[in-house]
Symmetry: C2
Subunit: 143 residues, 2 copies
């Protein structure tokens, strides 16, 4: 895997992740992830993906759609320790050329300090409340 860019802070990793996502740059997107198998990525309403290869394949599929996107990130809440950092953010994604925007996305991004500097190790994204109808009313009441 490519690992030619080193990030000195979790914020640098996060900025690089969203910039790469906007550019649909697969190598740059995957460069922010740690070089380890213990990675988790959940795209909105998607399956739980585990491991570098599964995650790379999912981004390759997203980028292959050829949709031009802009992402604005509300930085929300950050929790930092020496070796681990968690950012609970809200992503506002705009599809270039479309008038209506998808609902905001709640994302929990987890970063670890590795031999290669800070890297992403988990990304859990899910639609915010405006996502539309509730498929199963129990989901609102039971948890």
């Amino acid at each position: 895997m490519s690992s030619n860019r080193r990030y000195e802070t979790p914020e640098e990793v996060e900025a690089a992740f969203y910039e790469a996502f906007e550019r649909a740059d697969l190598a740059a997107t995957m460069n922010v992830w740690a070089d380890q198998d213990e990675l988790v990525c959940i795209h909105p309403q998607g399956p739980r993906l585990v491991g570098f290869d599964s995650i790379r394949d999912s981004f390759a599929q997203i980028f292959a759609a050829g949709i031009s996107l802009r992402v604005r990130v509300d930085h929300g809440h950050h929790y930092h320790s020496q070796a681990l950092a968690v950012h609970c953010v809200v992503e506002h994604i705009e599809v270039v050329g479309e008038k209506s925007s998808p609902p905001p996305i709640n994302s929990t991004n987890v970063y670890a300090y590795t031999d290669d500097g800070w890297r992403m190790i988990a990304h859990h994204a899910s639609p915010g409340e405006a996502a539309g109808a509730i498929e199963n009313p129990h989901l609102h009441t039971l948890h």
Copy 2:
């Protein structure tokens, strides 16, 4: 707030959280959370809740529904540092007395080491892929 039980590990906090949830025990559920304002809780398909009071109100509302639940947690992936821990787990929730179960829930649970021992500081839960129809097809392709 009640803070009479101290947890020595993130695993103890997590076990206490799910046990309290099954018992619909509001005081015990809230005892696992840190005594600070910088808390985030996202219930499946629910809004992003920030702060102890909002989170307490949400659990009070859930428990007021009087539904009896059982939760089995697949422990998934754990990331630990001295002061912060992240557990990416899958929750299998069963509604007692109902034959069909809601879809599994992907949950990212974040714990911090505080003056009161380990406590929960963030809980981000969202339905897994089996949750039903996709409301907005872009959500699958764009992120």
